[in-house]
């Protein structure tokens, strides 16, 4: 007959060999390996201050016949600490969900029980198949001033613990981040970026429960974000982008009236439109292509980037410089 035995880390454990007398000759094994007699007190197995590595199958055999007399599975673990509980409505006004976890593992099986009370009414929190540590509730009422009280109790063989959250219907509303954020350059506009996004698909009725949005953007080379709050619409044109600089852009959402901001969306990158690069020409080449000059003076081999509006590569700022200054400018741009 096999048993499971749960013991706390650090406890002293005594195992009896079934119904065998104290003075019976026995052999104990742990996971198939003989245990030294120094751990025995008669036929009892004594384990002092057990630790996690001592979890396993313990078997007791009668001395001469090697008949199995007792077997147990020792599980060393800890009682649960106070669980961490969170409740949130990302699909208002349909309902909300609560999820939980333990701050530290117990190393033995735990069971969780959740109760949700609204006023005097107990509500059913339906457990999700996945993830296992989550359940959801449908709102039966809206616009209530009565708070919800959610109590989570975690129990294992070594003890129990619980935590309680109390909140108003509207304080836990937090949408998921906006989806499908797209940022594109605007043709012929070196300082603009067009950003568009969609409402999170989990938000059930954006027409009746509109979301507002917060957009943040910065060039990759700077740490400071620019912020724009938008009360309607799912697009925005940035008009003050630095020409030619790659930008990182994110969007967050919030119900227009209640709750808190979502997490930031996945970041997207975009660079404003720049004009097509023209060929580099040197003064010497220009001189060769023109009609022969009577001057014998040869100008130094400098390179001019051509006229206003031109650029070399998509990352450069369009300017006119001599070679030395151009090199310095590139050095600054690509730090």
């Amino acid at each position: 007959e096999s048993h499971i035995q749960y013991e706390r880390v650090g406890a002293d454990v005594t195992m009896k060999c079934g119904s065998m007398d104290w003075d019976a000759a026995v052999t104990w094994t742990a996971n198939g390996t003989d245990i030294d007699e120094s751990h025995l007190n008669g036929s009892y197995l004594i384990l002092k201050k057990v630790d996690l590595t001592q979890s396993g199958q313990y078997s007791c055999y009668e001395g001469s016949s090697w008949h199995l007399k007792y077997q147990t599975f020792l599980r060393v673990g800890t009682p649960p600490k106070e669980p961490l509980l969170m409740c949130r409505s990302n699909n208002y006004p349909k309902g909300f969900y609560c999820s939980w976890h333990l701050p530290t593992p117990t190393y033995i099986p735990n069971s969780f029980n959740i109760s949700v009370i609204h006023g005097t009414k107990e509500m059913i929190c339906e457990k999700d198949v996945f993830p296992k540590n989550r359940c959801h509730i449908r709102y039966l009422q809206l616009f209530s001033t009565v708070k919800y009280k959610v109590t989570l109790t975690v129990t294992n063989a070594l003890g129990k613990n619980s935590t309680t959250l109390t909140f108003d219907e509207f304080t836990i509303v937090k949408p998921d981040p906006p989806e499908n954020v797209v940022a594109k350059p605007v043709p012929n506009n070196p300082r603009r970026l067009e950003v568009s996004w969609q409402n999170p698909s989990s938000w059930p009725d954006p027409e009746s429960f509109p979301l507002k949005f917060f957009l943040r953007y910065r060039p990759l080379i700077l740490d400071q974000w620019q912020h724009v709050e938008l009360s309607d619409g799912t697009s925005h044109t940035i008009t003050d982008a630095y020409a030619g600089k790659e930008y990182i852009i994110q969007v967050a959402a919030k119900d227009n009236d209640i709750g808190t901001w979502s997490d930031w969306s996945v970041a997207v990158h975009a660079t404003p439109w720049t004009e097509e690069p023209k060929h580099l020409t040197t003064e010497a080449q220009v001189a060769e292509t023109t009609s022969a000059s009577t001057s014998s003076f040869m100008p130094p081999p400098t390179t001019k980037i051509c006229d206003k509006g031109a650029a070399v590569g998509s990352g450069a700022v369009a300017v006119c410089w001599t070679a030395g200054l151009v090199l310095a400018a590139y050095g600054v741009l690509f730090i």
């Binding site: 039966l140 009422q141 809206l142 616009f143 001033t145 509207f170 027409e207 009746s208 429960f209 009236d257």
Partner: protein, 195 residues
């Protein structure tokens, strides 16, 4: 009066809904600020639970999404008429209790009362547009007499303001639902463009 489904009625409907949404939004913000002031001046605990009080309209509603436009308007109207009377009572109590000592609270109460009155009128206009006309107030019950003890009056005031804040939020949502539907369609809500 224009027919409920005429273009001018539709425009008026849309205009009243959007203005109503802005009114309700502003009112809610002012009520929330008033709540903070009230709790502080009356020496109350902001997190205190206050049981339902007779005569204070409760904003909580089941099956909110199944309500018709007319139901929404009527329930809102009944509620705001009650709040108008309750706030007037609170203002009078506050003047008796504190005299001119606390004009901040008095002014804030008076400002919210004005907004509630304006919103009540707005709702009546919307009901007229629905071709229903607002119900008269003659048959309406007066607010119950205020509690005798000062502490109970304070708690009732807290309840009034909390429910009013929730009503203002509900009204915003109700008017958005109304804005989706055409005027005069007092039947059970149906998807747009359905008969």
């Amino acid at each position: 009066m224009a027919a409920a489904d005429s273009p001018s009625a539709a425009l008026r409907h849309r205009d009243l809904c959007s203005r109503g949404i802005r009114l309700a939004g502003k009112m809610r913000l002012d009520v929330i600020n008033l709540l903070d002031t009230y709790v502080e001046r009356q020496g109350l605990d902001a997190s205190a639970s206050v049981a339902a009080v007779e005569g204070v309209p409760v904003a909580a509603v089941e099956r909110w999404d199944e309500q018709t436009g007319t139901q929404r308007l009527l329930e809102n109207l009944v509620a705001y008429r009650a709040f108008r009377a309750l706030l007037a009572q609170m203002l009078e109590e506050q003047r008796e209790q504190l005299g001119e000592a606390d004009t901040t609270l008095g002014r804030a109460l008076a400002a919210v009362l004005l907004q509630v009155s304006a919103f009540t009128y707005h709702l009546e206009e919307l009901l007229r547009l629905e071709s229903r006309g607002p119900p008269g107030e003659e048959g309406a019950e007066p607010p119950p007499p205020p509690p005798v003890s000062l502490f109970e009056r304070k708690l009732r005031g807290l309840r009034v303001l909390r429910e009013l804040a929730q009503w203002a939020l509900r009204s915003t949502r109700d008017l958005r639902q109304l804005a989706k539907a055409s005027p005069g369609s007092g039947s059970v809500p149906s998807p747009p463009n359905s008969p």
